[in-house]
């Protein structure tokens, strides 16, 4: 019950979803549509698991008086406000939308823009042409960085052309190779999961 049933369900669902691609007959497609809708529902429920874990983690911090638990309260206030507002209305201009546009959007957007600073610092202190490979990489990067901004066009006409060439020839050839390799990896993982060779998703050992 604990191991065999889930593995069997996994196998059946997987094989069915894989072979329906080749069978247009409505008797198969009707079940395909049904299962697709189920998967979608499951995904929505699975997403909420993350929220439950988050709440448990921070409740634990507050409960055990861990240092910095004040921030856990901040988190709960944010969560509570959003849920409270959300059930009242979500139209543009509502408090829910106000919080999204003026808290979530700016903070999340700014977090990633911090990296622009770190890239500059790394450019000076870490990006080294130590090997032939790294040298090639940095050279190509320099050309592309110049060729994709207006100033590159001004410096020399051939820079944008060289950038296009890099993107369309060496970049495309290597990315195509990587795309194939990663694709094989994706399929192999999917297959191993379906066949029960790879069971990490079950967690635990019992």
């Amino acid at each position: 019950m604990r191991r065999h049933v889930p593995l069997a369900l996994c196998f059946i669902a997987g094989v069915f979803m894989a072979i329906q691609y080749f069978i247009p007959h409505p008797s198969v497609q009707a079940w395909y549509e049904r299962l697709l809708a189920w998967l979608q529902t499951l995904l929505a429920f699975a997403f909420l698991i993350g929220t439950v874990s988050l709440v448990r983690l921070h409740a634990h911090k507050i409960g055990h008086k861990v240092a910095g638990r004040g921030y856990s309260w901040v988190l709960f206030v944010g969560l509570g406000l959003m849920v409270g507002f959300g059930f009242k209305g979500r139209a543009p201009g509502s408090p829910f939308d106000f919080m999204f546009q003026n808290v979530q959007v700016p903070i999340e957007g700014t977090m990633f823009s911090l990296l622009a600073f770190y890239i500059a610092s790394a450019a000076f202190r870490a990006f080294r042409a130590r090997t032939l490979e790294a040298t090639l990489l940095l050279l190509a990067a320099t050309i592309v960085m110049l060729g994709r901004v207006p100033v590159g066009d001004l410096l020399h006409r051939s820079i944008p052309a060289a950038t296009d060439w890099i993107l369309n020839v060496p970049n495309m050839a290597s990315k195509r190779g990587i795309m194939i390799g990663v694709g094989l990896g994706m399929m192999a993982t999917a297959l191993k999961i379906m066949l029960g060779i790879e069971r990490a998703w079950m967690g635990g050992t019992d």
Partner: protein, 409 residues
């Protein structure tokens, strides 16, 4: 080669979103609108010629309820006298024809996607010049039927089955103890040297296994490599620090390190506090690990596993404290930063290969081998394809073999 883009387009079924169908969409919704145009004066011109060669077949590879109708254009089409073609359907060869669709001049195909399954049907195509309709001879009977197999996808089926066989075969062979050859990667020698260097300098080694969870293939690979590194540090009595971003990964890594120390008989040297949970939050993790780097000044830093934007900040701090850095990840967007700021980088699948090489885990080894064999087949297909495309372009053979084989979809 740009012509290759045409292949997928060509296979689009009739009724695709072309400009013609779009402008006619409104007309189709109101089929009565068009014939209502009353003739205002008797037409002095000769009658318009009907389309010939009407052909109706069950639409291939579908779930039924659909018939493809095609015909030869009316000779008057080229002269611009045709307003539209209207397609009629009936259960009888001679009577009871009702319109089912309308297409623009110059179009000679129509897909009737409202055909009832399993009844004999007859089709006629009428040409209209705006004043009157002239009918073709009727064609039939034809039956709309669902199919049990999509013939256009046979290449995909064969390729997928081949892949399944390769993976299953090699995993089973590996499990049965068959010796599967994997070449040793240069990166592993670098890793040995780096561990040696830390011993000489008397400084610790920092092992960072990324931010992902234990179900990530890259994390599993990282754990396997950690086991091997831990064996070396246990032998040389070098301190190994492993800050984790996931509690479950931490638990697994504690186990792996402990086991490695036990294997070389140094379980006394194992310090559980050196494999610890830091935080899950990306930037807080960066701040924590950077602090460790600055305080401990590790001789060697290993980054193995799945990384996100934090890779850049970590590798920069590592470089600035003068550590030897070796990375391995399948995160394609992070690889360029690792390659330029680390001394050696295992790129993408090299990480899996290193893990399989070190662990000799049958599932990893067999999977890698199966993928490798498929890769060889793909390489061969590309060579054959390029040759056949070249011969076709030179006119030596009449068609491009690869295009024909792959594009039957």
């Amino acid at each position: 080669m740009r012509g290759a883009t045409g292949f997928s387009r060509r296979t689009r079924p009739v009724g695709g979103p072309t400009i013609v169908t779009a402008t006619l969409a409104a007309l189709l919704l109101f089929p009565a609108a068009l014939p209502a145009q009353e003739p205002e004066a008797p037409a002095p011109v000769a009658a318009i010629a009907p389309p010939a060669g009407v052909l109706a077949v069950d639409s291939p590879d579908d779930r039924g309820g659909s018939v493809d109708v095609s015909w030869d254009l009316s000779p008057d089409d080229a002269e611009g006298r045709v307003l539209c073609y209207r397609i009629y359907r009936s259960a009888h060869p001679d009577t009871g024809f009702a319109p089912v669709g309308l297409v623009a001049p110059g179009v000679s195909r129509f897909r009737d996607s409202a055909a009832p399954d399993g009844t004999p049907l007859h089709y006629r195509v009428a040409v209209s010049d705006g004043e009157r309709e002239v009918f073709s001879a009727s064609f039939g009977p034809v039956e709309a039927l669902p199919q049990w197999f999509h013939r256009g996808r046979i290449t995909v089926l064969i390729a997928s089955l081949g892949f399944v066989v390769a993976i299953v075969y090699f995993v089973r062979a590996a499990k049965a103890g068959k010796d599967l050859f994997i070449r040793r990667l240069a990166g592993l020698d670098h890793m040995d040297d780096a561990v040696g260097r830390a011993t000489e300098m008397g400084k610790p080694i920092l092992f960072i296994s990324g931010l992902s969870t234990i179900s990530d293939v890259a994390t599993i690979a990282a754990v396997n490599i950690l086991g091997e590194v831990a064996k070396k540090t246990a032998e040389y009595n070098t301190r190994l620090i492993v800050p984790c971003a996931d509690p479950i990964v931490m638990a697994v890594e504690q186990e792996v390190v402990k086991e490695a120390y036990a294997k070389v008989g140094r379980v006394d040297a194992y310090n559980e506090d050196d494999v610890f949970y830091l935080t899950r939050s990306q930037f807080a993790y960066v701040a924590g690990v950077s602090g460790i780097m600055v305080r401990q000044r590790p001789a060697t830093i290993l980054y193995m596993g799945m990384f996100y934007a934090e890779s850049l900040v970590l590798a920069e701090t590592g470089a600035s404290v003068g550590s030897i850095q070796i990375a391995g990840t399948d995160a394609v967007t992070q690889l360029p930063f690792f390659i330029t700021s680390c001394d050696y980088t295992l790129i993408g699948e090299e990480l899996y290969a290193a893990s399989a090489y070190l662990s000799r885990e049958p599932v990893l080894l067999g999977g890698l081998k199966g993928q490798d064999m498929t890769k060889a087949a793909i390489g061969l297909a590309i060579v054959l394809g390029a040759i056949s495309a070249t011969l076709a372009a030179l006119g030596v053979i009449p068609w491009d073999f690869v295009a024909r084989v792959l594009v039957n979809a």
